[in-house]
Amino acid sequence: MHIPDGFVPPSICIAGYAITGGVTWYSLQQIKKDSNPQKKIPRASLFTAAFFVASLIHIPLPPASIHLVLNGMMGAILGYYSFLAILIGLFFQTVMFQHGGLSTLGINAVIMGIPALFAYHIFHFNNRSNTRKKIWTQVLAFCAGAGSLILSATLFTVIIITNITSELDAQTEINAIYLSLISYVIQAIIEGAFTVMLISFLEQVKPEILRQ
């Protein structure tokens, strides 16, 4: 899901950086509203490490293989820190392993970071009290994990399809992209289940992490 250098026109790269800059500013404004903004930094740093490593771990899913993105899980647990964590994780993935590109860092952050904020709002829907039923928490955790990945895949697909250059056989490329959507659906289910497991574990051992 990482767009490499040279695959989208410069206007998309600049727009990606502009949107990322705006969302980063907004996230920092929201973080500043916390009574102790530094309190969640250790947690955000550890999840950034998980996001950074997840792209290197390939899960075989015949006929291809997938790697977890974990943006939905990060959004549900980190809130507005998740966008910054994903941006930093993407930067290190780019410079160390060439996953994505520096010119497309902004648009990749949009593709994976904004769905994380969506996951945050989904998961914390009606979460202001401690009266939420356990099954309801698990359903929202699954929706956050799976829905975030589906949204990322949709953004990726739309950006790629609308920017196929004329030298490529557009129909062949579109067919290949539609075929890859099947694996994204399976990946979304896996990420949703993974998010449910982690949220259920945290509910047992440290429930205060999951409260706003």
Binding site: I3, P4, D5, G6, F7, Q38, I41, P42, R43, S45, L46, T48, A49, F52, V53, L56, H58, A64, S65, H67, F92, M96, F97, Q98, H99, F156, T157, I160, E167, L168, D169, T172, E173, A176, I177, L179, S180
Partner: protein, 167 residues
């Protein structure tokens, strides 16, 4: 008509027939020549090592990087071969793409080095030695060490911000 006249007619007919159909007769022959020329072979794989089979390949010549010089598709092994135009030196850019994934590699090509390239290829131990990679082709151990250093950096950040403040 005497026998001599008959022979003259026959000789004339055979002469005209041989002249008239000479090209057609020669066209039945075949002539195969060969020359040894260096080609570039690229191989595209996903991160997990799976070949990018039937991926689209677009090649740009050094003298015109805006217009594709050649288009094609990789084979089942993710390989694609082409012979660069011998009189164009510079960087040949090769874009390989499939379902939004792929990469671009820039291959330097010097016409005066063509002969030496052939010689050096003969000395190569096997044809699977790839000269360069679009993204640094780290081996698994290098990747693990790099990932570990990155993770340690994040853990260090977490430890720094979670330290107990001295009173």
């Amino acid at each position: 008509m005497t026998n001599r006249h008959k022979l003259n007619y026959l000789a004339s007919f055979l002469l005209f027939a041989s002249l008239g159909f000479s090209r057609q007769v020669l066209a039945h022959g075949a002539n195969i020549v060969y020359q040894q020329t260096p080609a570039i072979e690229v191989k595209a794989t996903y991160d997990d090592g799976k070949p990018m089979s039937n991926a689209q390949v677009v090649i740009y010549a050094p003298d015109n990087p805006a217009i594709p010089w050649l288009k094609g598709k990789t084979n089942e092994e993710g390989k694609f071969s082409f012979i660069p135009q011998s009189n164009i030196s510079g960087n040949w850019d090769i874009k390989i793409r499939q379902s939004g994934h792929g990469d671009i590699i820039s291959i330097p090509w010097q016409t005066e080095n063509v002969a030496s390239t052939v010689e050096s290829r003969d000395n190569m131990p096997n044809s699977s030695n790839w000269l360069a990679s679009a993204n640094n082709n780290y081996n698994p151990i290098q990747k693990v060490v790099m990932a570990a250093t990155g993770v340690w950096g994040f853990i260090g950040t977490a430890l720094f911000f979670s330290r107990q403040k001295s009173s």
